[in-house]
Symmetry: C2
Subunit: 513 residues, 2 copies
């Protein structure tokens, strides 16, 4: 395989994303989304429109996770969007955690008002909360379904929209309405529920590593970062390119708290009665934000092939009608050959872009959308029996000429290389920006240096940790949060940087989304 | 193939659905749903819980339709759940059509009230309507996306939940919240938009016939049954077993009404400016109600194999541990063989039910859930190399012994036979209960005889029709509605039964869901 020397114009940098990551990371993020047609703000405060290219990503995320959920015995179901206020109130910590961000339905019709326009009418006897999460409403069904230990475990998942009224929103990362899956399970014993909690966390890790190409750290959340009402909350934490942390998925061991609140009782094997042990776990469209910020570059979106809606785009090049037909015919044959090739859980997804727009514009269109492989095919390529291959994980001007048959045979392998390469790059970046810190002054210097949002400094700090809410204020002053206590750690005695107390547990600290 | 004579106990009728269709059709419907674990009422007025077996049906409906939508160039996207009141008001007929059944969000948090409990707080400046349909909010995006004829057509579909506050609800048929898909497209010309409207109606017809095994009549709705704001509404209409009509899908030609309301303007090829021509079309979880009422019998649910979550269930039979291992091993081999066989758009879905419950109970469990084929396998079957096959479309006691290899080879064919058989049976039933009526007295007698809900009489009447709202009251008195003007009709001169005016167009009249 040799680097191409076809005399084609280099790809112009003027078309890249502005600003660059270095110049203004937050604005770069917005521009990547805009230029890739992933999503946009809607006229409804805090709600986004997910455009087809962004929704295609979500469909691939859904399909991949759904398969893993079903392979581990879970079934999908659907529960009401609305939760009666009285249900929501049943678990005290839970309602406290969500009360401040609930959309509330209070009326069931609109009526003309004098002078024109409409006003809400027919007030409901009991207000309805638009679900921010469904523990309480699903708990009501579980209480009906579960009578005996023979009915357990119940392993349910729901794909749904949820609403949490956020004051500061950002596309994909934090929106008032978002799409997610929420798993809800009930078990006869605490051990089984704990095992389920960890199994789903493992699935999220597997998905992040193998599909998203994002290295994550599995760990337990500290007490003040727990899901409201949970006994333990576990998460996977990823490092974005600005070295901030992003929580990419959570899995909760709920103990018997929600079972008690919803009355999920069952007859035990021994003939007694007990409350069920429940779990819940979820990931959301936030994953798309993680994807964007992990891999994309100053040219725009970069997609891991396992989740890309399109793997290969073919760009036919011709100057006259005679060439046009010849080239297009060749492209169609190539498309059919590629579509026959397995990749990931399906086949290679190929598209010919034959729109009548300038070549540079067209090339940039696909660069910015993160299509993993672009093929340019003109009359000379056809005569030489080669395809000109550009990979999204390589600099935008780089091309390689490959014999047609070799490319077809190796396309899946190339996609696999890109997938692994993205993961390796993200892992190298994370490891280079994570350090152990055991000294308060070093800790503060490490995070203060990150204060200027436009400077990419700081990262993850692994420090001795004592779970004491007294340290929250000191962390808040530094705008630092406790991400998780990594599960993969050996006890090592040290002193907490904030309380000075001895501990043998360590936690990841970071600025976060 | 011979009818089995294995000396097994007949299936007891005592386990069937009570009441029968004849005794009480409406209650029979509820009981079929309950016994098949399809869905249940939730604590939220008018909202249902879709249980895994019912949701599995919806997933299959989604996958099949989604493939057809994508094959015809449509892309999925997602738009906000909430619609600002000001958007909703833009199309006058539209808002009038939906104002009476809107859930309205007026507050964005909950606050503790003195004496305990929570109340809605932080009132919104502008109330938000929970979408009953998304023309207006999607129109706002289209207005941004579409600038030139080059941007057209825009072909979008959304899978989503919608809310219409219904006072009288019934599982699947009419619920306050339901799941659906809504297609929304914009075109440069009226002709293209009309062609799209009909293309999607054709897809719905194809889906009803080939997947749901339900014969439908394609037609245009009369003026007072149109979607609020549409120029023309088309539907597919099916006959249920109580001879009532059920509208199973609609496709609307919206003209430029919504484009004008939302400002969807574009530069034409000729350099002028015009409003886009739009369409919308949808089917919902109501289809599951249609499925239940078309095919099910007094034993419970009957599922067309193309949509059944499981095609074959294997029921191992044994009396001791030695037999158990031998029989289960045989069942596992059979399962693997069957799972390798193509059927429909995928492979044969098989499950072994090895739960430790009585054989009769287990058999009825699967009869009531409508699994197309049941296989009973005991030590004698194993020794004889046969499987005992029961088909859900045959009487519940009927079994056939088939050689193992023959069944594996023919399983897909048997499923195909069941699928076609259900369609043929439903078609025969509909045709037997549809007649042309040109006389008012005959018309009244035909529909009055259906007045007793427990009597299965009446059906579809094809009558000369003049689109005059003056006839609404006369029809309402008979509880009869105009279903549609079938597209497949030749002009035939006759007199309208109600206005006495001459016409050459005919319409289907029926009582309806």
């Amino acid at each position: 395989m040799t680097t191409d020397s076809l005399p084609r114009k280099p790809v112009k940098r003027a078309n890249a994303i502005s600003p660059t990551r270095q110049e203004d990371y937050a604005e770069w993020y917005q521009q990547v989304i805009k230029e890739a047609d992933l999503a946009e703000n809607s006229p409804v405060r805090g709600c986004m429109v997910i455009r087809p290219w962004g929704y295609g990503l979500w469909e691939n995320i859904q399909q991949s996770l759904d398969r893993m959920f079903k392979d581990t015995g879970h079934q999908n179901a659907y529960f009401p969007l609305f939760i009666p206020l009285s249900f929501f109130e049943k678990e005290a910590e839970h309602v406290e955690g969500f009360a401040k961000e609930c959309a509330v339905v209070t009326h069931r019709r609109l009526e003309a008002k004098p002078g024109g326009g409409l006003v809400p009418a027919a007030e409901l006897e009991e207000p309805l909360v638009v679900r921010p999460t469904s523990e309480t409403i699903i708990g009501a069904s579980f209480a009906k379904w579960i009578r005996s230990y023979r009915d357990l475990p119940v392993l349910i998942n729901q794909w749904a929209n949820v609403v949490r009224w956020e004051m500061r929103t950002r596309l994909f990362l934090r929106t008032t309405e978002f799409l997610w899956q929420e798993g809800h399970t009930a078990h006869a014993t605490a051990d089984e529920a704990r095992a389920e909690t960890m199994r789903m966390l493992d699935i999220y890790e597997h998905f992040a590593h193998e599909y998203m190409a994002i290295p994550v750290i599995k760990g337990e959340k500290c007490s003040w970062e727990r899901f409201p009402g949970a006994i333990n909350t576990y998460s996977i934490e990823a490092m974005m390119q600005d070295r901030r942390a992003l929580q990419a998925g959570t899995s909760h061991f709920l103990g018997q708290n929600f079972a008690r609140a919803s009355g999920i009782r069952f007859q035990t094997k021994e003939g007694g009665e007990d409350y069920a042990w429940t779990t819940s776990w979820g990931v959301s469209t936030r994953l798309i934000g993680a994807l964007i910020m992990s891999h994309s570059d100053d040219d725009g979106l970069v997609l891991p092939p396992r989740l890309a809606p399109r793997h290969v785009v073919i760009l036919p090049i011709y100057r006259n009608d005679a060439d046009r037909e010849r080239v297009l015919q060749y492209c169609r044959t190539l498309t059919a050959e590629l579509r026959d090739r397995p990749y990931g859980d399906g086949r290679i997804q190929v598209e010919i872009d034959d729109r009548d727009i300038r070549g540079g514009e067209k090339t940039w269109y696909h660069i910015k959308r993160g299509v993993p492989v672009r093929l340019e095919i003109g009359p000379r390529d056809l005569d030489a029996g080669v395809v000109s291959v550009s990979r999204r994980d390589r600099p935008s001007g780089e091309r390689q000429a490959l014999p047609h048959a070799e490319f077809v045979a190796r396309a899946g392998e190339i996609l696999g290389e890109i997938q692994r390469g993205l993961f390796e790059r993200a892992l190298t970046f994370r490891d280079a920006n994570m350090r152990e810190i055991v000294d308060r002054a070093v800790f503060e210097e490490w995070f203060q240096s990150q204060d200027d949002e436009k400077q990419l400094r700081g990262g993850f700090a692994l420090c001795p940790f004592v779970d004491d809410p007294a340290i929250i204020d000191a962390l808040a002053a530094l705008k630092v949060t406790v991400r998780c206590l990594p599960l993969d750690q050996q006890p090592r005695a040290a002193k907490c940087l904030f309380t000075g107390k001895s501990t043998d547990r360590w936690a990841i600290f970071a600025k976060a989304y």
